[in-house]
């Protein structure tokens, strides 16, 4: 598949702060590529550079082979940007908002009317299309916010945390719309700090923190970086050194993240198993207040990569 978006060594420095530190990735046609990271990780700054709102300090952004620096108008024509905040005209109706946005991208007359009607139906606002947006619920505004980024049928859609602050039902609706849009042949760059969304939606994703991509790949591929097996999490009155030493004596037990009083260990498939591993730790004289055994997820990977939880 041809890359729709290529980001090369992108860097943004604000004074002493390096918000984005040389990230590189590609997004292929028809793919949902996720940017997973906590607030302040550099996701929105990256999106802002990709859509031409911020000039990169260094690096290059190419959309379908066209550089944003060289031909910003042509690149912007191919992008649909859905910002994190709900940016709609509250005084206008949903239809008027979409009419306006389509007009900006040069859609006119019957084509615009048809496209607006299609979108209103797609985002489930056709019944309330002519009401002022100020009367809408948060979820409805979010759906309109998304529709406004789709009105000109862009090649690449940049979705910056499109589900922030809405209820689970409204979130599912938005995720369904995104899947539908991709099924129609569009490409999506999706930033989020909700790992469930990233796992559910993204074909590939990058884990980003402090402006750097820490890991990149498919969801399964990233989970595999933790190793195959079960994740054993223990809490109790022990030191990091004592747990590390005890784990080293147990066959097939790999430390993932260990601190005083808390430890995360991977029990590999094909080894002696979880009960054997626990016996080994007990026999080393350790006692635990809490033991948890589960399948590894992206949260665990983030913890392993950064030493902190995704929502910290």
């Amino acid at each position: 598949m041809a890359p729709v978006l290529e980001v090369r060594a992108l860097r943004k420095v604000f004074g002493d702060l390096t918000a984005v530190d040389g990230i590189s990735f590609t997004v292929n046609e028809g793919e949902i590529y996720g940017f997973l990271g906590p607030n302040g990780a550099g996701k929105t700054t990256s999106i802002s550079m990709i859509c031409g709102l911020l000039d990169p300090t260094e690096g290059e952004v190419l959309v379908q082979g066209i550089g944003i620096r060289e031909n910003p108008r042509e690149v912007k024509r191919r992008l649909g940007v859905v910002p994190q905040e709900v940016a709609v005209y509250e005084e206008l109706s949903a239809r008027q908002n979409l009419d306006f946005w389509g007009g900006i991208f040069g859609l006119r007359g019957g084509i615009l009317k048809k496209r607006v009607a299609e979108l209103l139906e797609q985002v489930g606002l056709e019944d309330r299309a002519d009401e002022p947006v100020k009367n809408f619920s948060g979820g409805m505004k979010r759906r309109l916010n998304l529709a406004m980024g789709l009105v000109h049928d862009p090649q690449l859609i940049l979705l910056d945390e499109p589900t922030v602050g809405i209820d689970p039902q409204a979130r599912h609706k938005i995720l369904d719309i995104v899947k539908e849009v991709v099924a129609q042949g569009r490409t999506v760059l999706y930033t989020t700090h909700y790992l469930e969304e990233a796992e559910d939606l993204c074909d590939r994703l990058a884990v980003i923190d402090h402006g750097r991509i820490l890991a990149e790949g498919t969801v399964d591929g990233l989970k595999a970086q933790l190793g195959e097996g079960s994740l054993l999490t223990v809490q109790g009155q022990f030191t990091a050194a004592s747990l590390t030493a005890a784990a080293a004596r147990v066959e097939g037990l790999q430390p993932v993240e260990i601190a005083d009083g808390r430890g995360m260990l991977m029990v590999g498939n094909g080894g002696p198993g979880v009960s054997h591993s626990l016996e080994g730790l007990f026999s080393a004289g350790l006692t635990f207040d809490d033991i948890n055994i589960k399948e590894p997820n992206l949260e665990d990977l983030f913890l392993k990569l950064t030493g902190r939880e995704l929502r910290d």
Partner: protein, 419 residues
């Protein structure tokens, strides 16, 4: 660019409150100031107010003085004063007058002795503003009597004795009393009579003026022109300042991520502001015409051109300041100061002819001056395009320069506002 302008016009249409306030402001000001100071529409005189006065303190020197003052020739232009007895209440019930003023028994003595007393005013509920004017006037009289009583104190008592005495008081006694009263008044003169406000007819001071009544509707028309110009500055402030509102809602950032050039976005906002200003101007002119406050100008195209030039200059000026300030709060404060300053200096609050000479010279540096002067000539002197060409030229040049400067400043600000 049309979708951008159309979108802003639709937003104003769907949420018209702020624009309606801008429209209402000059109409309200014209109505109030016109009614207080001048004649009504079509040169008709302001209707006289029929006031009944029941003086229960007959013989009291202050009560008699008050009744006398109400019946003076000067006041008769506005007031029709009828002295009544106890039948006053019945007349009011029949709706024969706008208000009944009751001066209570012992009114004069109470004031001299600085005891509380009440001047009663019965309003005719079926009338609106006329009884209110009497009430306001009564409050003014009460305030003056109260302060006079405090100020003159013992002298007021001496005056009462002199008036009540059977024989003429000695000249020396009168002279001494007058001197003491004058001394007291002189001491507080600057507080009592602050020379802050001057009232007069702009027409009387214009040596080139023709008939008594101009072609328009007198004071209402003049005030409408003055306040409309100020309102248009506020419209420009609000509409160009909409950039901040769009920034706060995230829409400006969103627009910046489209292929639209920044200059186009700014120009569209600017054009929207000019169009809105013209619309407000036309609504106000139409209302003024309908009310008979103004008559249609002899050269409507010149009036439209002058309005266009003024709106261009006003939007350019506001845009320059928005380009210079750092945030919405600063923009709000600065714009308000600029609008009020220019309005005060340029003749939107007081006719320029009534200002001190030095200020009249400064007035020429304001946009208001050129607009008001031009509109007055077009509306009230039947002037044509040639007569106001200078005004239009000044405003167009100012508008051109300011717009150019504003564009340069706003392109830079736009990047800051959207990144």
């Amino acid at each position: 660019m049309w979708p951008l302008i159309r979108k802003d016009l639709m937003r104003r249409w769907r949420s018209p409150a702020s624009t309606l306030v801008m429209v209402a402001f000059p109409l309200f000001m014209s109505l109030v100031i016109g009614m207080v100071f001048g004649s009504g529409g079509n040169g008709q005189e302001f209707p006289r107010i029929h006031v009944l006065v029941e003086n229960r303190d007959e013989g009291g020197f202050l009560a008699d003085a008050l009744v006398g003052a109400l019946g003076q020739e000067q006041g008769q232009e506005y007031l029709e004063v009828e002295i009544v007895g106890e039948e006053g209440a019945a007349l009011m019930e029949d709706g024969k007058a706008s208000a009944l003023v009751i001066i209570p028994e012992g009114f004069s003595t109470a004031i001299v002795e600085r005891r509380p007393t009440t001047l009663s005013i019965v309003r005719n509920p079926s009338e609106g503003i006329k009884p209110e004017i009497i009430v306001q006037g009564g409050e003014l009289v009460a305030a003056y009597l109260d302060q006079g009583s405090r100020l003159l104190g013992g002298e007021l008592g001496n005056l009462q004795e002199m008036i009540k005495a059977d024989e003429m008081p000695a000249s020396a006694k009168v002279g001494a009393l007058a001197a003491r009263v004058m001394d007291r008044i002189r001491d507080v003169e600057s507080y009592l009579f602050p020379p802050l406000v001057g009232i007069g007819s702009a027409k009387e001071q214009d040596p080139d003026a023709g008939e008594d009544d101009p072609s328009g509707g007198g004071v209402f028309g003049y005030i409408l022109v003055m306040t409309t110009v100020m309102a248009l500055l506020f419209v420009a402030t609000r509409s160009v300042g909409d950039l901040f509102e769009e920034k706060n809602s995230g829409m400006l950032r969103r627009q910046a991520a489209t292929p639209l050039p920044v200059v186009q976005i700014i120009t569209a906002k600017f054009l929207f502001s000019v169009v809105l200003g013209l619309m407000v101007m036309l609504i106000l002119a139409g209302t003024g015409l309908a009310l008979g406050w103004i008559t249609a100008p002899a050269d409507p195209a010149a009036a439209l051109l002058l309005g266009l030039a003024f709106n261009l200059a006003a939007c350019g000026l506001v845009a320059v300041f928005i380009g210079l300030v750092r945030n919405e709060k600063q923009a709000g404060i600065l714009s308000w100061l600029i609008v009020m300053g220019m309005s005060a200096l340029g003749g939107s609050l007081t006719p320029v002819e009534q200002m001190p000479e030095a200020m009249q010279g400064l007035a020429r540096f304001t946009l208001n001056y050129w607009a008001i002067d031009g509109f007055n000539r077009l509306m009230f002197d039947d002037a044509n395009l040639q007569a106001v060409a200078g005004n239009i030229l000044v405003l167009l040049v100012a508008g051109g320069v300011l717009t150019l400067a504003a564009n340069l400043l706003l392109v830079r600000r736009f990047r800051e506002m959207t990144s």
